[in-house]
Symmetry: C2
Subunit: 417 residues, 2 copies
């Protein structure tokens, strides 16, 4: 265990980096330009008027078809392991579908006759931490109280989850990224998924927001397998508890993909009550483009292999840099995921913010410390979400020694204080 | 004035139509297939990876740019006569932008610190009638009371509008289709627009929902001109009163166009407070497609000429059929608009529902009677929205005599009762 650093040597090294005047961005889980390049064919799969019809003759240029065209519902049914009529295919943003689902529950409740969440004095969501800042932002904006639940190796600590949900009917939801979780990269174990499927919430309007954003996003040959929660929930009549989200944002285009909500038919019908007022239908031409680009599930998997080839070396670079520079440092550890977009780095308590600040001043933008916690507050100020996909490998190899230097410098600063 | 009909002759004629077993749809304001065909080039204006960048280098395939890419904001600034930074370009649906704007006002108020509309005991919108059913549906779903305001030749009766807005602070909004209004085809007069611009609402969170869906949608060489309400409102410091909506749904594709919200910078900033939580950004590739297809405002106007050529003969056919079959009938009149998607037909009181039912049984689907009024209730049961664009001219020429026969038969039925 290395526990004592040479502050002056680190400061010298850091100042050297500063003089390079770099501008590197490791802040968001964005695909790199060459990942986006792999989907080029989607731009030309529809070229003529005659191309614009779905397989059963829907003119995708015109209004209508609120739930999405049949083939795009089928595409998502294959990705998520649900039935096509359990899918609503949307626009380009699964975040938007999540926001709308929460907003609708706030204003109208989760089903016909149920009390709008906004009419309760106080409601809460459970938030496994570290987690995804944009999930937490939806709660904060909608005045939903957030309760931290620790992530363990198997997923959220289900003892804690069950304790809250079973006993407290003001708990109305929980945010989950069940596969290659943001930012830990953990995939929920079979036992965890089964415990979710068998939850007995005290509130009859409790819902699980199951954001399966990284369903197919392996970076290793050794891929994680996620149990099908909707299937398991059906066996105990619990299927209405789940809203499942995914998108092609990291399959085709981050800004111009297709998002989907999958859920029980009861929930689909309840969602449509609001959705039919909100829009006449999402962009069906772009839905059709995706179906032409990905006519089979196998073609989606082939596409994911192209992403894997680009993303994997970046994860390897991060892990190697951490191994080389941070291994053996007291109270530092990081995750080594089989997929997803993030590595979660835990530092000694009270140093994460300082590391992000030091890195910023040296031209390396990291995800803000605290962002992985509700209200932006990491109670121990120790977690940093590392997002290696957006920079090139060359940029990453410049940024990583700087990041590691900042981590050690922040520790050294504390030691000399 | 024709006031007495031969019931048996009309019934014979009607039964003859019935035997044809037609299936014709005049229910919605949808573009016809050959209108959609005119935009074919938009499918191929972006073909390669290198094509996917906005003029200032934004990778439109990736996340980001919540307000839309600069060139699409400029496109809408030209269509609406506002500044580009007064525009948020969205996804494919202006209805969705309207819904979201109402929903946000319900949950969070119209600006920082203002009371959410849902926290009032009761709030109301003014609804010029006849009007657009999907506007009314947004109110109904959100439990906003609706108050009918008569449409006169100049637009909504502004004496009534001002009386309500000046005296009642529970009036929070009004729905307007200021140009080629749905369904009357009326364009608000300069005086009406000026009175809107100078409104002095009692409620400080009152907003005008100015749905300029038909800004460029002339069907005659004699085009209506709509005064610029935002410009006029600025002169009296009233610019925060307006949310202006439009879209390319009836310029490019009804289901795959681009929608926009235009408003004061104060309102833009207030909207973004919620929008930044709701999504990371709308589909920028489709925004860019529209800018490549329509690099200048002139190119949009050229496109509208193609629509005009297809749409105009259909309006002429309706007007000729009405003239031939219904002219001189007591208590029947219809509008003769210079643009838009509708003709508004007024029948003798208490016959509209019956006409729609008779037409349906003869295979002609009309917009449901009452749809043009809040809660689906036309108090006099006399208005039918005629939507001539979707059927072909040949289909229309089959449907129109049937529709006219149904109108006369419904009147005759009343006479023999």
């Amino acid at each position: 265990m290395q526990s004592k650093f040479d502050y002056n040597a680190l400061l010298n090294e850091y100042n050297g980096y500063k003089q390079q005047e770099l501008k590197l961005d490791m802040s968001r889980g964005k695909p790199a330009e060459n990942q986006l390049d792999t989907a080029e064919r989607i731009l030309t799969v529809i070229q003529t008027n005659a191309d614009c019809f779905s397989r059963d003759g829907i003119d995708c240029r015109n209004y209508g078809n609120l739930t999405g065209i049949p083939e795009v519902r089928e595409l998502f049914s294959n990705i998520l392991g649900v039935s096509p009529d359990e899918v609503i295919a949307g626009g380009n943003s699964s975040l938007n579908l999540m926001y709308d689902t929460v907003a609708r529950a706030m204003s109208h409740g989760v089903k016909k006759g149920s009390k709008p969440w906004s009419k309760y004095d106080k409601i809460s969501f459970l938030c496994p931490v570290p987690g995804y800042d944009r999930h937490f932002a939806i709660c904060e904006y909608n005045n939903i109280n957030m309760i931290n639940v620790p992530m363990i190796a198997e997923g959220p600590d289900m003892d804690v989850v069950e304790m809250y949900i079973k006993n407290d009917d003001t708990i109305k939801g929980i945010w989950c990224v069940p596969k290659y979780s943001n930012p830990t990269g953990i995939t929920y174990s079979d036992e965890t998924v089964m415990r979710f499927a068998n939850l007995k919430p005290k509130a009859d309007d409790f819902r699980v927001f199951w954001d399966n954003a990284y369903a197919l996003h392996d970076i290793n040959d050794k891929a994680d397998k996620l149990l099908n929660v909707l299937e398991a929930a059906k066996k105990v009549g619990n299927e209405d508890l789940f809203y499942i989200f995914t998108s092609t944002s990291k399959i085709s285009y981050a800004g111009a993909g297709i998002a989907a909500l999958a859920c029980s038919k009861n929930n689909i019908n309840a969602v449509l009550e609001g959705l039919k007022v909100q829009t006449i239908g999402y962009d069906k031409i772009n839905q059709l483009r995706h179906c032409r680009m990905f006519p089979t599930f196998e073609s989606v998997l082939e596409q994911m292999q192209k992403h894997l080839k680009i993303v994997k070396p970046k994860f390897v670079a991060v892990l190697e840099a951490f191994e080389k520079n941070l291994s053996g440092v007291e109270d530092i550890n990081w995750t080594n995921p089989n997929g997803g977009y993030f590595i979660s780095l835990n530092l000694p308590n009270g140093t994460a913010k300082r590391v992000v600040q030091l890195a910023k001043e040296a031209g390396v933008t990291l995800t803000p410390a605290g962002a992985t916690y509700p209200y932006g507050v990491d109670p121990e100020d120790r977690n940093i979400r590392v997002a290696p996909t957006y920079p090139s490998l060359a940029e990453l190899n410049k940024a990583l020694p700087i990041m590691c230097c900042c981590a050690k410098l922040a520790i050294a600063e504390k030691q000399i204080r």
